[in-house]
Amino acid sequence: MLTEFGKIFVFLLVAIIFVAVSIFIAKLIRPVRPTKEKLKTYECGENPVGTPWIKFNIRFYVVALIFLIFDVEVVLLFPWALSYKEYGFYGFLVGIIFLVILAVGMAYEWRKGDLEWARPKPNIPYLKKIIKNQTGEINQLQSEESKIE
């Protein structure tokens, strides 16, 4: 008979074996065609070696935020899915209302362009102005900024 800690030990053992076996099988059956880029540690297209305090693309962050929120909201659906038979049609309706609100949030992200990798409106016009007429336009830009300050 296993004690409580014995169960935890078995749990750990199974976890380690599962990971080891799956990595080993993957190694056996996958094709091996290495290049220099492929051999690098995978880090979302960033250079894995160097200081961690580099400025990387801010879009990673926005995508991570959106993922975090929607991923966690799904937790609320589990108790609903388990018990909605008991509560019948009205329980179903309550869940649908929740999903509609989530969908509005999703529509918001979509419409504001936060789901695209490149935002729809980059601030290019400023650059054009400066190139056209250097002295005058730059002054105008600075005065606009100081107004905001």
């Binding site: 509560y87 009205y90 609100i101 509005v104 949030g105 529509a107 918001y108 419409r111 905001i148 300050e149």
Partner: protein
């Protein structure tokens, strides 16, 4: 939960349902009106007025909503009663004013492309506050506090025009998240001791003779720390001046009135439903005696008002000064709670009704002047009484009222508070509060001195507001004078609204 129960519950929380629907409508409208967002404030206003209309018609309604189907008792998650409806009405009224404030605020106009998000967050705050006021379950209390806080953290730094906006936002979220986390830990311990999170069921639990007082006090202290942060009571007030100074003025005004009102309503409901053992014939609340409640409340309130008033003395920034003054006012209101009776409750409610008008008014005029001159520094007020007479007079009225000098409404508010204190034989406390009022006179009058006795300097601007702003100022000024002379209607209204659902 069957159909009739669900409909009954939804009928009880109809104002909240309206607010939620309005929130969704604003989000959708913001998405549809991608270019021209001028109509969004009107949508927001319509939603608030609809909720207000339903609350005024259903003032007498009361009952528990969302009663768990398998529970032995009949206590729900949400308690709807006249007391809660009164505070909800206060919140909606101040929200309506905030819409007007934001519409004329220069800071908010600069971010008018994000106005849809702005009003969505305001509605998030309203929803959080409304549930906070009527929540009768600790979990719902925590959720609603978080809903309110999360929206207000963002709003504090919404404009991003200056460094101080971001700083206010950061300080707010760090203090807020820590205190709500501590409160949640307290709730979890209380849940472990008592086996329930319902406020009424907690009351039944406290009646049992065998209590582990040490653990119980520990968990209660943690919970009260969370609530104390929301009302910015003395040991937890450090965030208030920084956040109030850094946030856009419209949001500062909103935080100082609505958010504080919701926090107090929550505190009062928590104490009234969970800790009151008996109410005697005179309306005094006899509390369970595992704490010396009255001394605790008195110490905290005196500490709060003294710290607030004395720190306000050397502030040159008017926004920061009003922040400290709002801490001091929280102290006075806590004193009303320390009376622990129906009379104290009436005094608190009268105080809040008047505090709403005078504080919103003072912030509105500070906002109009700051929009013109670009700063809230007291030196910019030199001679303002002559360059822009109407605003000067109105600001004087609000500041006099905040001090509590007759014939303004602020005097009536303080009068009822002191009467309640004296009736409860708390004369020494009343004297300390009176001395505090004298201290507060100094910094309020200092502004008046700058406005009327100093020569206008070069930096003094003459503020010519547009018609709608004058209308808002008048709507706020006239009641402050009127209620100072003829206050029977508010007293009658408050006396109709003192019933709190409890065992």
């Amino acid at each position: 939960m069957d159909l009739t129960n669900l409909y009954y519950s939804l009928r009880l929380i109809l104002p909240e349902v309206i607010v939620s629907v309005a929130l969704l409508i604003i989000v959708i409208a913001d998405l549809i009106l991608h270019r021209d967002k001028k109509s969004i404030p009107y949508i927001a206003l319509t939603g608030m007025l609809a909720a207000l209309a339903f609350m005024i018609t259903d003032l007498a309604q009361q009952g528990f909503a969302f009663i768990p189907s398998k529970s032995q008792h009949m206590f729900g998650m949400v308690a709807v009663d006249a007391f809660g409806t009164f505070f909800k009405i206060l919140i909606i009224i101040s929200s309506v004013f905030i819409v007007f404030f934001s519409n004329s605020s220069l800071e908010i106009q600069k971010v008018s492309d994000r106005i849809g998000e702005y009003y969505t967050l305001i509605y998030g705050m309203i929803l959080g506050m409304m549930f906070m006021i009527s929540a009768s379950d600790l979990i719902l209390i925590y959720l609603s506090i978080e809903l309110l806080s999360l929206s207000s953290y963002v709003l504090a730094g919404f404009t991003k025009l200056r460094d101080r906006n971001s700083e206010a936002s950061l300080k707010y979220i760090i203090y807020g998240a820590v205190s709500s986390g501590i409160m949640l830990f307290g709730i979890s311990i209380l849940y472990g001791i008592s086996g329930t999170t319902n406020l009424m069921a907690l009351n039944k639990f406290f009646q049992s003779p065998e209590l582990n007082l040490l653990t119980l006090s520990f968990s209660l202290i943690l919970i009260f720390a969370g609530i104390g942060y929301k009302i910015s009571a003395a040991p937890f007030h450090f965030w208030t001046p920084d956040v109030y100074e850094g946030a856009p003025i419209a949001i500062t005004a909103y935080l100082s009135v609505a958010s504080k009102a919701a926090g107090f309503a929550l505190l009062i409901r928590f104490i009234r439903t969970s800790f009151v053992a008996v109410v005697d014939a005179q309306g005094n609340w006899i509390l369970f005696d595992f704490f010396d409640w009255r001394s605790l409340l008195i110490i905290i309130s005196i500490l709060t008002m003294t710290l607030g008033n004395f720190s306000a003395l050397w502030q040159n920034n008017l926004k920061r000064m009003l922040a400290y003054s709002s801490i001091a006012h929280a102290g006075y209101i806590l004193l009303g709670l320390a009376v622990l009776s129906v009379h104290g409750l009436i005094a608190i409610m009268v105080y809040f009704l008047i505090y709403l008008l005078m504080n919103l008014g003072a912030f509105f005029i500070v906002m109009l002047i700051a929009d013109k001159s670009g700063s809230e520094n007291i030196d910019d007020y030199s001679g303002l009484g002559y360059t822009s007479p109407l605003l000067g007079v109105a600001l004087s009225i609000f500041l006099i009222s905040l001090t509590g000098i007759p014939p303004t409404a602020g005097f009536i508010a303080k009068l009822y508070l002191f009467i309640a204190l004296v009736d409860a034989n708390m004369i020494a406390v009343a004297v300390i509060a009176l001395l505090n009022t004298v201290v507060s006179l100094y910094y309020y009058v200092r502004v008046l001195k700058h406005m009327y006795l100093t020569k206008p300097s070069a930096s003094t601007s003459s503020v010519r507001a547009v018609g709608i702003n004058y209308a808002v100022v008048l709507i706020l000024t006239i009641p402050v004078i009127l209620f100072g002379l003829y206050f029977t209607p508010i007293l009658e209204f408050v006396k109709n609204c003192i019933s709190i659902l409890s065992i």
